[in-house]
Symmetry: C2
Subunit: 152 residues, 2 copies
DNA sequence: TCCTAATTAGGAACTATTATTATTTAAAAA
DNA sequence: TTTTTAAATAATAATAGTTCCTAATTAGGA
């Protein structure tokens, strides 16, 4: 799946601007890695990106791909899907509930909300597949991490 | 964090009923592993459960813990948090968007919905932490997996 | 109690990711 | 443009989480 060229140009421009402002080097490797993620409409993993980038830069290493990707996540150019960077966690609470996830420490906190339980599934989603459950995930900073931050 | 005893009893009863109906054996190991997840209010990982169960069953192996947990997920007694069972995936789409996740093949599909973008954060969530973004995740079966299923 | 297929323990193997180190390079300064 | 140097890279070793393999054990029906 490929993105429209205009949007890719916009993303590439933002990439250069962001790296310059952060004072990190714009390397050939980082450029090609970002171009690869940014032009994809699905959500590729590091291995897939590595294979594709290697067509242009045959000597690139997987480690470089990982370092570049996490750098871009830190700079706010990319996000990750799922819990990531963390091990699998199990939950015996099968009632409908929602999650608050701390973006600093990764802590996940359940909460209940009757309104969220009844969110209507948008029509266009029905074209993607048959919905079975709707869950809201709120990302933010938990109290403990906020206090730690203030103490600094 | 511990759950109230009544709720634990309810979960244990459901556990026995579900395993019997599925025709799988109710082993001492599976019982203790499930009791451990079911009595926890946070979301423990396999390693943590392993350490706790080992206090009662000193010879249990980590592999048994994993096998038991995934079995319970398959039987609908547990869920996992995050993408799990999958490697990290990266996304260059930083606009507000939401996800449809196929519970069969794991495919994640973006969609946009102005209503979802403006969901109000419930008051009680503010006690947990400072919210930064709200994202809706719809779980279901994608068209491709549905067709495959029908073809059977 | 006996029987047998299902399950387990223990350790090896596998897979995704990160660390180490010598070499190379981007970009600021001359 | 060339020089300089801290930052970044390639290659490979190491680590962490999870799964596989096999002989021994066990749940639960006969």
């Amino acid at each position: 799946m490929q993105i429209i060229p205009d949007e890719l140009d916009r993303r590439m421009a933002l990439f250069e601007k962001t790296l310059k402002e952060a004072g990190v080097k714009i390397t050939h490797q980082r450029l090609e890695i970002f171009r690869e993620v940014a032009s994809s409409l699905n959500h590729p993993d590091a291995e897939t990106l590595f294979r594709n980038v290697r067509k242009k830069l045959p000597t690139i290493s997987l480690d470089t791909v990982y370092r570049a990707l996490w750098l871009m996540v830190d700079l706010g150019l990319l996000t990750t899907l799922g819990a990531s960077r963390d091990r699998t966690r199990f939950d015996a609470n099968m009632e409908s509930h929602h999650h608050f996830v701390c973006s600093v420490c990764g802590m996940t906190h359940d909460f209940y909300d009757a309104g969220f339980d009844r969110l209507p599934v948008p029509e266009k989603v029905m074209e993607i597949g048959k919905a079975e459950s709707v869950q809201v995930r709120i990302k933010g900073i938990c109290m403990r991490c906020m206090r730690k931050k203030e103490a600094h």
